[in-house]
């Protein structure tokens, strides 16, 4: 019996390690390939002779991209949207979640339902689009012609994140709040000096979620921002890819590197900043998935 146990354990262990290794390599491979393809010579890329390592190394694809003003424009637009979008979303979410976490709030259940219902039922793309067009008119009539601000204010709110924050705030012991109130703290001071410091890690997690959804935002940014100079990086990459698949745009290529390399270089450039901050944010990223506290 003991032997049977050991054998089954060993078999499972071998299977685990093998499949894990295969899967991990599959996850890694496209990135390595993208890097190799972006810095390889034209012939090697076009004949498809690159498998893992780059051949005839050149950096012209990157040089071409870095000399493109539109690329830097797109990058700064993405940074703008991510920074202000996250700040705005956090502002709205923290205040709302704080109020919702209070037991003494009247109609608390109604407000909660107001939030949760949006997780069950969403209007869909086209009604949202019509609504954005209408709000855009309102914005323009107010003199705000910049579509970026509309994207910042209108996009990226998620009921789930507010609920995560609310649950964290509910976990703060009420005795501490009472002590602060006895000391003469106002509502805003209670929030900023008691609640925020005591739920730092959830706040970091939620801020990260907002920032990632802003950084990755593509569809609505493309629909709502009409000025090409204001397009964020994701829209820029997609437009380049669409141009690339268009055979007419490819006809003009007469360079030392393949047209593929440009696309791969773009992909690499958009991943690298995330890879750099990855080690710092990973623990918050992992934490956010523990949805055990979601309840209504």
């Amino acid at each position: 019996m003991k032997r049977k146990l050991e054998v089954s354990e060993l078999i499972f262990k071998i299977i685990s390690y093998t499949l894990l290794t295969v899967f991990a390599l599959c996850c890694l491979y496209p990135f390595v390939y993208a890097i190799s393809a972006s810095i390889s010579g034209r012939q090697a890329v076009e004949y498809g002779s690159i498998v893992l390592f780059p051949k005839d190394v050149q950096f012209d694809a990157f040089k071409l991209m870095f000399s493109d003003n539109m690329f830097w424009n797109a990058y700064s637009n993405t940074l703008f949207l991510t920074l202000f979008g996250t700040l705005w979303s956090m502002f709205v979410a923290i205040l709302g979640a704080y109020a919702l976490s209070k037991k003494r709030l009247l109609f608390r259940k109604t407000f909660n339902f107001f939030l949760v219902f949006t997780m069950w039922f969403s209007a869909g793309i086209v009604p949202q689009y019509l609504n954005y067009l209408a709000t855009k008119d309102v914005f323009n009539s107010m003199g705000i012609m910049d579509d970026k601000w509309l994207v910042v204010i209108a996009m990226g709110m998620a009921a789930m994140n507010i609920i995560l924050l609310r649950n964290a705030f509910e976990g703060v012991p009420s005795e501490i709040e009472e002590a602060a109130i006895v000391d003469g703290a106002t509502e805003l001071q209670v929030l900023t000096q008691v609640y925020l410091p005591m739920s730092k890690s959830t706040i970091a997690t939620v801020a990260l979620f907002f920032a990632i959804s802003r950084w990755n935002g593509y569809f609505w940014a493309r629909q709502m921002i009409s000025n090409q100079n204001e397009h964020p990086l994701q829209v820029f990459i997609r437009l380049r890819l669409e141009q690339y698949t268009d055979p007419e745009a490819m006809a003009g290529w007469n360079r030392a590197f393949a047209s593929d390399s440009v696309i791969y270089a773009l992909i690499v450039c958009s991943i690298v900043p995330i890879l750099i901050i990855y080690p710092f944010i990973q623990k918050y990223f992992a934490k956010g998935t523990n949805v055990g506290g979601v309840k209504e």
């Binding site: 709205v92 039922f121 990459i237 992909i267």
Partner: protein, 351 residues
């Protein structure tokens, strides 16, 4: 009579008799002037209620107003007038979509079927993968080795949908006179999984491959990240449970069956509810970025169908809104249904 008396009288412990409840007068007053009391409470605590305002406005403007626009599905299509000024036209768009039998109607049924199938395959293939992965992670005893595996498998999750789909597009791209096909297409045709001619025509241009590409890229992207929650549930299992099972002669398989599975069942149920809840709400962005007119047969889902008809030069906003209305109502029923079943079956529910 007795029940009514109990509302007014409270038991006095000292004298052992009933006496009138002094708070009842206040309660009566509150009931009589309900809204005045609400107003007073809000006014006294106005800072708290002010904090709610931005959130309520954001949700009202960008979540609930679109639902009002959605009512366009009952109205006569008119792109100029706002929804409130259009005539009520009943269910004509729904009838048109469901029963007309023309090209538009067949396209809608196709989109509905594709939506279900994409989600259903996701449930069959995509959902178990993170659980299996978490079981494997649990086998890796060395922390360092496990971190390496985890970091590598979470990696694809950090790409945006655009970058992920761009990468997929490049990896399976078609070959032409001047350039070879994508590396994955090359690999597949080399091992004989796909004939070279088909691979050279571009796998994303072939409706037969769209679903596989969608699911495999989905697993590649999120299986690692989704395994976090299951792994957390597995490492929470006490080692004594395994020891007890071993003493009872359980081999590895039996331990999985009788120790691990029951312990992570509630997590699995919660994740399954979320999954079923978003069954019809599949990422339109990813489909939009991966499909093209050649693959509409298998790739077109309701959101993209509505997107094409409502925003471009399609059948109009009324049709698009009606399509999304059906999609969303069925989706909502699925969430509520799944949640109810889960609550009945295992006392686990998300909402």
């Amino acid at each position: 009579m007795k029940a009514k008396a109990a509302d007014f009288l409270v038991y006095d412990r000292e004298s052992g008799t009933y006496r009138e409840d002094p708070e009842q007068a206040v309660r009566d007053d509150v009931e009589k002037h309900y809204w005045r009391h609400v107003g007073q409470t809000v006014l006294k605590d106005w800072r708290l209620y002010l904090m709610l305002v931005p959130m309520l406005l954001v949700f009202l403007f960008w979540r609930y107003f679109p639902m009002y626009e959605l009512l366009g599905c009952f109205k006569v299509a008119d792109n100029v007038k706002p929804v409130s000024e259009q005539f009520f036209s009943g269910f004509s768009y729904f009838k048109r979509l469901l029963f007309a039998g023309d090209g538009l109607s067949t396209d809608f049924w196709r989109a509905l079927r594709n939506t279900f199938l994409l989600s259903f395959y996701g449930l069959c293939f995509g959902f178990p993968m993170p659980i299996i992965l978490a079981l494997f992670f649990n086998e890796v005893r060395s922390n360092a080795a496990r971190s390496v595996y985890q970091v590598l498998t979470y990696l694809p999750k950090f790409m945006s949908t655009v970058v992920m789909t761009s990468l997929v597009t490049m990896l399976v791209k078609q070959g032409s006179l001047t350039t070879g096909m994508g590396i994955v297409s090359q690999f597949l045709s080399n091992i004989g999984a796909v004939s070279p001619a088909v691979a050279n025509a571009g796998l994303l241009n072939n409706p037969a491959f769209f679903r596989s590409i969608y699911q495999i890229s989905g697993i590649w992207e999120s299986a690692g990240y989704d395994s976090i929650v299951f792994f957390a549930a597995i490492i929470a299992i006490s080692p004594t449970s395994y020891e007890a099972a071993q003493i009872d002669g359980a081999d590895k398989w039996a331990q999985m069956r009788y120790v691990v599975l029951p312990s992570i069942l509630s997590t699995i149920v919660i994740m399954l509810i979320t999954r079923i809840g978003s069954l019809l709400n599949i990422g339109y962005e990813k489909v939009l970025l991966l499909y093209n007119p050649n693959t509409y047969v298998t790739a077109d889902v309701v959101s993209t169908f509505a997107n094409r008809n409502g925003m471009g030069t399609g059948a109009g906003i009324g049709i698009a809104a009606a399509a999304e209305m059906m999609n969303n109502v069925i989706g909502m029923l699925l969430v509520i249904g799944a949640n109810t079943i889960a609550r009945k079956a295992s006392n686990t529910s998300l909402y």
